[in-house]
């Protein structure tokens, strides 16, 4: 097999197709949900809806999405909060602030930004990978998670895990020739891009809907979200 040609394919044609599928798929899902219709809320508010929305984003998004604001919830599920939070931190640090990834963004968007030094990104990626393994074990052990997890949940895990672990091995030049690892990394990214619109990983978009609704509902009632 000619790995260089395969690499060209996975980072060229296949990547473009996957990216288009990702964008098209997400736009389709977004539009479909929006077109289901929105009833006007006629309830006279007791507090500020906008205030509630601002507060809930400040609490839940800008600072640290996984901080358990509600007392005693943290102690009941530390693994989930810590692993979930660290996974997202590592993920976003790597794909936004890792130099090679920033260069991909630059080629797509036309502009770049400062990045973190490699050792820091590398550590964060390792933490994210460890967190993912912890989350998988937790999903197999926790009674509620066992109940609500089907094949889709494990595919979600696998399709996110593969790009992360191939990327990590590639950065460290371990075991396989570079072009092999790079090809596999790109292939797994392509698969992930195609998978996202068909899965719950799309929550990165719908998060903004549910958060806004949460803030509106609590703000309307003059209750802290």
């Amino acid at each position: 097999m000619n790995w260089n040609a395969f690499l060209e394919f996975t980072r060229g044609q296949l990547f473009n197709v996957a990216l288009l599928f990702f964008i098209g798929g997400m736009v389709y899902r977004l539009v479909r949900v929006i077109l289901l219709g929105w009833k006007r809320d006629r309830v006279p508010p007791a507090g500020s809806k906008l205030g509630g929305v601002v507060k809930t984003y400040l609490k839940g998004f800008l600072i640290w999405p996984f901080v358990p604001w509600v007392k005693r919830t943290f102690s009941r599920n530390q693994v989930m909060y810590l692993a979930g939070g660290l996974f997202h931190l590592g993920l976003f640090a790597t794909i936004l602030l890792g130099t090679p990834h920033m260069l991909v963004w630059k080629s797509l968007l036309g502009f770049g930004w400062p990045t973190l030094p490699l050792p820091i990104v590398d550590w964060l990626a390792a933490v994210a990978i460890a967190a993912m393994i912890t989350l998988l074990i937790n999903r197999r052990v926790n009674p509620v998670l066992k109940l609500i997890s089907g094949p889709a949940e494990f595919f979600n895990w696998l399709f996110v895990f593969l790009p992360m672990v191939t990327g990590y091995i590639m950065t460290h030049h371990l075991w396989f020739p570079y072009e092999v690892l790079f090809s596999l990394h790109m292939l797994s990214v392509d698969v992930l891009l195609i998978w996202i619109p068909m899965s719950r990983i799309s929550h990165f978009i719908f998060y903004f809907f549910s958060r806004t609704i949460h803030g509106t509902e609590f703000g309307k009632r003059a209750v802290n979200p």
Partner: protein, 419 residues
């Protein structure tokens, strides 16, 4: 029973508001940690995410490509009759719709409302637990789930008026404020009627009761039937208009307040200039404006704490008012339970749960969390502003043989009035 009717109701309830939230769920399961029924029993099916799963399955199989695809391939099964029977237990017997789960959800999904939508499907398919159904039918037929007929209402008012020597205006034309009691207060806590009447009179409020809009309880809202909810709401709204009042005051009843204050506007016509508020709001307003005078510190002594009702505090917004009042009555001995206010743990009896016999084990199990809270703060008295909570507390204090006094906020205020 008709599964299809339930599914059609789910589909009808599904607009962008519901769909976007179902899409946002990552299936992380963290909501389970907020549910007092899951915490108390450890039954995984009681996790809020699982309670809304019927709604999610119906939505995906009807509206989404991946859902249709999975259904065609047999990966996902259509909702069956047995599913509906199972979920009827989860959403009625193990959920008070207290909405604490929405506070823990990393996505902020408004799970309480979605569970209410699942109940709507159950009600359409005639799968409401027998006890709850019987109560709904009584309310439709007699006007009250607890047997408050015209005659009983008149008798109760006369008796309360005589016994506590308090003036209780009925159908008074020209009154500004219509007060609507819950059937629990009328039948089980009649002293509350006297207490509220005394306070309103002391404040010089121009108020009345109505012989037609005589109780605020809404069992249609418990069961999740929009049709019945509207019937019961209209009894109050229409007679409020008839009397020409400016505002309706809901007394110590949580679910009814949620229905009238936060739901009615979206499912029926509410007159624009009609204000709907809760008695707790009036109490605090009277105290802070000096319209009533209370013996300050009259409740100092043993530790006194406040139980936040899910529908009056977390979903109703009246969080500071009861505290303002209690800080006057018991500045030294008032202590907060942990967690409290919008994060409070529900009593376990709301949402119709206390009306369902089969739910008793769940209800008692959930209350053990409350006992732990009470013990941690060393409470001698626990105060609340919801008669449904109060019914649950009164029953559980007896059931568990606890040395705690259960009191309604209005009652304490009336006791401390300076004439």
């Amino acid at each position: 029973m008709s599964t299809q009717t339930a599914l059609n109701t789910f589909v009808k309830e599904t607009g962008g508001w519901v769909a976007s939230q179902l899409e946002a769920c990552t299936r992380c399961g963290l909501c389970a940690e907020a549910c007092h029924f899951y915490q108390a029993t450890g039954v995984p099916e009681y996790a809020p995410v699982w309670k809304v799963d019927l709604l999610r399955r119906t939505y995906q199989q009807r509206f989404t490509l991946s859902g249709k695809f999975k259904l065609a391939l047999g990966i996902d099964k259509p909702v069956s009759d047995q599913d509906l029977l199972d979920w009827s237990k989860y959403v009625y017997e193990a959920c008070t719709v207290c909405n604490k789960c929405s506070m823990v959800c990393p996505m902020g999904i408004d799970l309480g409302t979605l569970i209410h939508d699942v109940r709507a499907g159950m009600a359409a398919a005639d799968l409401v637990p027998a006890d709850l159904k019987a109560a709904v039918e009584l309310q439709l037929k007699e006007g009250s789930p607890l047997g408050v007929t015209d005659d009983v209402f008149d008798d109760r008012l006369e008796w309360v008026g005589d016994d506590w020597e308090v003036d209780m205006p009925l159908d008074k034309k020209g009154a500004e404020t219509l007060v609507v009691f819950s059937s629990i207060e009328i039948m089980k806590f009649p002293q509350n009627l006297a207490a509220i009447a005394e306070i309103l009179n002391a404040a010089g409020e121009n108020w009345t009761l109505s012989s037609k809009a005589r109780e605020v309880v809404n069992f249609g809202y418990y069961e999740g039937s929009r049709e019945n909810t509207v019937i019961f709401l209209r009894r109050i709204l229409d007679h409020a208009v008839e009397l020409g009042v400016k505002r309706v005051v809901v007394t110590e009843c949580g679910h009814a307040y949620d229905a009238l204050r936060w739901t009615a506007y979206n499912i029926t016509d509410v007159p624009k200039d009609l204000e709907i508020t809760h008695i707790t709001h009036l109490l605090a307003e009277y105290v802070s404006s000096g319209r009533i005078k209370l013996k300050e510190g009259s409740l100092n002594g043993g530790t006194i704490t406040f139980h936040d009702a899910c529908k009056i505090q977390r979903k109703g917004g009246h969080i500071q008012e009861p505290r303002q009042v209690l800080k006057v009555l018991a500045p030294d001995s008032f202590k907060e339970m942990t967690p409290n206010k919008e994060e409070a743990i529900c009593c376990g009896g709301g949402g119709g749960v206390i009306a369902i016999k089969e739910a008793d084990p769940n209800r008692y199990a959930a209350f053990e969390l409350k006992i732990e809270q009470l013990e941690n703060v060393g409470a001698k008295t626990v105060v609340m502003a919801c008669s449904n909570c109060r019914l649950q507390f009164t029953d559980c204090v007896q059931h568990f043989d606890l040395d705690v006094k259960v009191a309604g906020l209005a009652q304490l205020v009336a006791d401390a009035l300076i004439e």
